[in-house]
Amino acid sequence: MSDDLLMAPTGSAHPDDFVRIADVVKIFGDTVAVQSVSLSVRRQEIFALLGSSGCGKSTLLRMLAGFEEPTSGRIYLDNEDITALPPYRRPVNMMFQSYALFPHMTVESNVAFGLKQEGVPANEIHERVFEALDLVQMAGYSRRKPQQLSGGQQQRVALARSLVKRPKLLLLDEPMSALDKQIRQKTQIELTRILEQVGVTCIMVTHDQEEAMTMADRLAVMSEGQIVQCGSPQEVYTFPNCRFVAGFIGSTNFFDGVISVDEPDHVLIESDQLARPLYVNHGVSEPLGMNVHVSIRPENIRVQREQPELDYNWAHGMVNHVAWMGSYVRYQIRLDSGLVIEASVPALMLTQDDAPGLDEEVYACWASGTATVLPS
């Protein structure tokens, strides 16, 4: 076992690493679905694989479940190599996107199915099934068939079924995609609560960044079979490491520019899209003269009628569209360069009478700490 760990091509075996994916590649025919992914998940962590469809996140999940075997690379769970184990020998259970409840069985038999395969005695099965159903508040529905339940109820049963065997690792495949938008958010919080209560390590796959940010302790953004960035939701949102991540997690405004001044405590970036330069005072390691993208989140942009006093970090434009979203107001501003940017202004900072309206000339400005410089 220790030999295996030493021979693992990447990543040191940290004692906290409960699930370790080492250089996993999956090739279907002539398409590379997963390209050399290495990843560690800690014990009792909720980890989200986030990406748009076809990015390889589902393939990665299926390899963790054992439905696909990696073309190369290893997968370790609790220091045990599970790469070649068939799904029925893995201490891993999955909640399927469509829930995959057995339609010919009652709720109770569905939940009991996994325990029966293990040969657990009947009275213990009964006890554990009802314990699991109680956990998801579905004990009153034990005699129903799945098709007699609502989507939300089916999801709870599916969760109970995948938790009842007390797996070392729980996999959630797009857990909310079959639910109505209204109950999604409530369910996300409740599901997180249950998972924390049980204390199970969990890897989920989702294309919905809000879902990942609500539920996950850490997340990995995937694109074209590779992990682009991995970190806590806050880290990834605040410090995206590339243009793709910045655009995928939340919405943002991009400016293309060239670094024109490089001082130890700040840089200035000239952009054709802005009349004034961008002043950035943190985390820029790119050399002078390099082409960069600058990302500024809509919530960091202020909208005002007066021209700012500083001679950088603002732009002049005209209000293109105003949308009252309740807690905030979303402005679209057409800059003099023709670029349309978005700004979210907290409703508290505006009164409806006083707020700049459609076609009004305004200044968009931002603090120097809010811009993120991205090399690509």
Partner: protein
Amino acid sequence: MSRQSLARFAPSRRTLAIVPPFVWLGLFLLLPFLLVLKISFADLKFGIPPYTSLAEIKDQTLTIGLHLRTYALLFTDSLYIATYLNSVKMAAITTLCCGLIGYPMAYYIARSRPAQRNLLLLAVILPFWTSLLLRVYAWVGILRNDGLLNHVLMWLGLIGSPVEIYRTDLAVYIGLVYAYLPFFILPLYANLVKMDLRLLEAAHDLGARPWRVFFSITLPLSMPGVVAGAMLVFIPTVGEYVIPEMLGGANTLMMGRVMWNEFFNNADWPMASAVTCVMVLLLLIPLVLFQYSQVRQLDDGRKGAA
């Protein structure tokens, strides 16, 4: 307003859609059956037609003569009873064999790649393009004492002298299973191909080994297909005439043959009719059971949707 109130009396679209099949069934199924039923209660008579009529008016008296001779004979003569039992037995064994051979075939076709699937399905349907009679004749050639099968077996040295298969029950079974296998495979295939494979993955994921997955998930979920296939094999096999006649021996008792004998050899129309009526009833019972199970299943689905 007046148009609306008149519209109440016009048949609904639903009725219009249902009427044609009912008329068709009434004209070509129910009416002939009633005629046969009528003849079965008549008595034998020389002349054309060769049976007595049920009702006669003579001297202003209506006499209705219901002759129960045929039915009395049917339920007392051990030959008829043995024939019925044997027909049902042979149909049941044929259905079972079709199930044992057809299930793996349907399963394999349903699980192969879509392009290959159509080719395999074509291979199942292909025999229908030649007449059944021709295909059964081919079996005569294969199964005869000096036929292909015996030649091959003797050439392989497995047997010393020809095995007698032709003109035995075994030959009939071979012929029946061969002819009716596609009827089992097709409905079962239709069921298996639309099965949600994620259910099987879920069962694997929960710790079930492949065989357990088959017996606890695939098989129960494919039961509607199995039942439909079994009905399609069982029902026509009970009354089958051509195959037992051509491949069976003198003591292969099947209803189809008895009916033929009564009708053409004995010219006993009432007896042949009675044999037919009882057989139809015998076939109706499984059909009704089948229908009942289908309806119940549909109801279950509807309850779920509500």
